[in-house]
């Protein structure tokens, strides 16, 4: 491949026009994200291709495998353009009918369209589906549209135009200024202003500097970064090139989780393509900047999401944090000035260069600008990736986009920020997405994991779950985190097992405060947050466990009796059919009974019983 110039970018862009405006043929965009792969999209794609071949439509129809579309719960997904017709939960068997009906007779297949869980109406156009209608894709602007393994399609969507502008029309100081105007704050969770971070590093003396991308998405329940990398890897590379110009770096690393093989594969393809086009390497686009990017596969340690630990890990050491200062902007990787930005942050940078910082800051609140991506999951109807303007109330995300709580259950809380965050109850659901507003109610913005919990979730068990995670991932360097979180976990386990004592809550609070103030890094300092926020809003549940030896949500196995309340039992037999151990004795019109000899205490019957008859 020949090295490109800025003019060549424009040529490639116009060559992609018909494809990206969905003209001249019918385009079938099939989702190739990890979620859809898991539900069988590869087989569906093969069947689709075969059906198209069979009908001789090869010349007028183009099938494109895109990155993650975002509506993961409905996979495998297919969007047909023109028309923006959204198909869901496809199977291999559906393909001949889809080709015949939609592509030949022009009639979309009704039964495969999205069905609104409330109105039960079928909705054909993707943009009309509530899940998508309330979103504002910026970081995710190419998701579901382009083939992530095609650099030309990325360029067709203004790709590398931002980098060209930064390389030829802007000084490093102007780039930094634009980032400051945009109000962009680190999307990894801490929310430090990106422009300020770059400014520090650009002013640090030194011939060798590094640009790092943090793709070590370790928060359980978060998959924003994975989806961006799978759907639009070039956006991250372009963001890094712009950052390199801003701080005068020549080498970049992407620290990616080894648990994300598809993201790593697509990043690798993107890097090779960018090198082939001269968008990475010496004198990018003929400019003075030389910059290269390497992928570094993390080996699975949550603490490596912390910047100093991540750098130790790239150096081949145990990923343990060190005290700051010196900050990485002065002494980072191999003791050289380094900036570390999160995937989502970097994916926003190219558009900020193209459209300007003021455009980016055009939406949002006083202190939080632009948009934020959330990975919405848990007990909610529409699970998937959601990008909303800052300032959007959490209620909108859960009810309008997420479609509310399934199985006619009640909302209990939404957990934001993973193991460093907290839960937000119903009474605060009108809190807007804003760094400060979320912190005020006891959670953190975090990297974007949003896990919805219904009334069947035990908050003591959730606190125990997060503490177990923190304890497991504590690197062991500082005492408050290593010993303090272990002690907290022991107390929480004790409470869940029905051995809680009256002063346990006070000890938990006291330990939390000490750990917060004295732990070395963010992992430890924020570790007690899930416990504190659970205590803040659900203290009564802790007390029920401790004083009454009762788990109100019926989750803590040790506090359950595994018996059926005859008056509440409607004799429906749901528990009987669901039990994997044949432990339920039931006959038509009879009250069910649990055979404790056979019962494996898996809670399936508790989950299936709609009448709360098992206690």
């Amino acid at each position: 491949m020949a090295k490109l110039t800025t003019q060549d970018l424009e040529v490639i862009k116009s060559a992609q026009k018909a494809r990206l405006a969905f003209r001249e043929r019918t385009y079938l965009l099939i989702c190739g994200g990890t979620g859809c792969h898991a539900t069988g999209s590869i087989r569906v794609k093969d069947a689709l291709l075969a059906a198209i071949e069979d009908k001789g439509l090869g010349d007028t129809v183009q099938v494109i495998e895109t990155g993650c579309n975002g509506f993961c719960a409905m996979g495998p997904l297919l969007v047909v353009h023109p028309g923006d017709i959204f198909y869901q939960k496809l199977t291999v068997e559906d393909m001949p009918e889809l080709v015949e009906s939609h592509l030949i007779n022009g009639k979309p297949v009704e039964r495969l369209l999205y069905k609104d869980p409330v109105s039960k109406a079928r909705i054909a156009a993707q943009t009309k589906i509530p899940f998508f209608a309330h979103q504002m894709p910026r970081a995710l602007r190419n998701k579901g549209l382009i083939n992530p393994e095609s650099i030309d399609e990325y360029i067709g969507r203004d790709g590398y135009i931002g980098a060209a502008k930064a390389l030829f029309d802007m000084t490093p100081q102007q780039i930094i200024e634009e980032m400051k105007i945009s109000g962009m704050r680190g999307r990894g969770g801490a929310g430090f202003p990106t422009g300020v971070k770059w400014d520090f590093a650009s002013k640090s003396a030194g011939a060798v500097k590094y640009v790092l991308c943090n793709a070590d998405e370790g928060d359980p329940g978060a998959f924003m970064d994975r989806s961006i990398l799978e759907a639009d890897p070039h956006a991250v590379l372009e963001g890094m090139i712009i950052a390199a110009k801003a701080i005068d770096a020549h080498k970049g690393y992407i620290y990616a989780r080894t648990e994300y093989p598809l993201a790593i594969k697509r990043l690798g393809i993107a890097i090779d393509q960018a090198k082939g086009y001269g968008l990475l390497g010496d004198n990018i686009l003929g400019s003075a900047l030389s910059f290269d990017i390497e992928i570094y596969q993390g080996a699975g340690a949550f603490v490596c999401g912390e910047e100093t630990a991540l750098m130790r890990s790239i150096e081949g050491k145990r990923g343990m944090p060190r005290p700051r200062p010196p900050f990485p902007a002065h002494k980072g990787l191999w003791e050289k000035p380094t900036i570390l930005n999160n995937v989502e942050t970097l994916a926003n940078v190219p558009q900020i260069m193209v459209k300007g910082g003021a455009w980016y800051a055009g939406v949002g609140t006083q202190t939080s600008k632009g948009t934020k991506v959330f990975a919405l999951s848990g007990d909610v109807n529409n699970i998937g990736l959601v990008e909303v303007p800052m300032g959007t109330p959490l209620r909108t995300i859960i009810y309008d986009i997420g479609g509310g709580i399934p199985n006619k259950r009640k909302f209990k809380a939404v957990q934001l920020g993973g193991p460093s965050g907290g839960c937000i109850p119903e009474s605060h659901l009108d809190t807007p997405v804003d760094y400060e507003a979320i912190a005020k109610v006891g959670a953190i913005m975090g990297s974007g994991g949003a896990i919805v919990m219904d009334e069947k979730t035990c908050m003591v068990d959730m606190a125990r779950f997060f503490m177990e995670f923190i304890q497991d991932e504590s690197c062991g360097k500082c005492t408050p985190c290593r010993e303090g979180t272990r002690r907290q976990l022991q107390i929480l386990e004790k409470i869940c097992e029905g051995r809680g004592e009256p002063d346990d809550i006070d000890i938990l609070v006291e330990l939390s405060q000490t750990i917060r103030e004295t732990a070395l890094c963010g992992l430890g300092q924020t570790g007690p947050n899930p416990v504190l926020s659970a205590l803040r809003y659900f203290r009564d549940e802790f007390e029920a466990h401790i004083h009454e030896k009762r788990c109100p949500a019926k989750r803590c196995v040790a506090l359950l009796r595994f018996e059926v309340e005859p008056d509440a039992c409607t004799r429906c037999g749901m528990c009987f059919r669901a039990c994997p151990a044949d432990a339920i004795v039931w006959e038509k019109k009879e009250v069910a009974r649990i055979d404790k000899e056979k019962c494996i205490k898996c809670l399936t019957c508790y989950d299936k019983c709609r009448f709360d008859a098992i206690f």
Binding site: G35, G75, F223, G300, T604
Partner: protein, 173 residues
């Protein structure tokens, strides 16, 4: 006690040796080399740690220190069908622990262990990022979403049946 090396392990070590020897020597190579070794052998026996230590001219304890820090590295051989049960938040909310417990009971091993016939091993993983399909388990490289206790038995059975079928076919040919 570490399990003794199998003939297969020795063969893998033999092919690994020149690969490591041909790799760059910087300290930053330590984790990539361990990943390479684990890819070849499926785990990191002492012999593999020594190979890496000698190549980078660092002590074995240093190599072990790094290897034991990261969740990715294991010191026992995995089963032919490693079962990984996701313990992320979304999976937890949807009952991931119950799925783990069911695999443990069905296979009669605990998390972190391998069945005697080396067919299965069980691990817990923090989050595989498929929260939309929670609870999730991987058997080998295949991801299974919306897991339920009743599905566990089916999965294990399917693997065993496929193995028997393959053995029968091998016996016939």
């Amino acid at each position: 006690m570490p399990l003794p090396l199998t003939a297969e392990d020795r063969l893998h070590l033999k092919t690994l040796q020149p690969q490591i020897a041909a790799s760059p020597k910087g300290r930053g190579q330590l984790i990539p080399l361990l990943q390479m070794a684990q890819k070849a052998l499926g785990y990191l026996p002492d012999e593999a740690l020594s190979l890496v230590a000698d190549h980078l001219a660092v002590t074995r304890s240093e190599v072990y220190g790094v290897a034991s820090f990261y969740n990715q590295f294991r010191f026992n051989p995995p089963g032919k069908n490693p079962v990984k049960v996701c313990m992320g938040t979304a999976c937890h909310v949807r009952g991931g622990e119950i799925i783990l417990e069911n695999f443990e009971r069905k296979l009669e091993i605990r998390e972190g262990e391998t069945t005697e016939d080396r067919e299965f091993s069980i691990e817990r993983v923090a989050c595989v990022g498929c929260c939309a399909l929670a609870p999730v388990a991987l058997v080998g490289e295949t991801l299974h979403g919306h897991m339920a206790p009743s599905k566990v038995e089916g999965l294990v059975l399917r693997v065993r049946l496929e193995k028997e079928k393959a053995e029968r076919e091998a016996a016939h040919s």
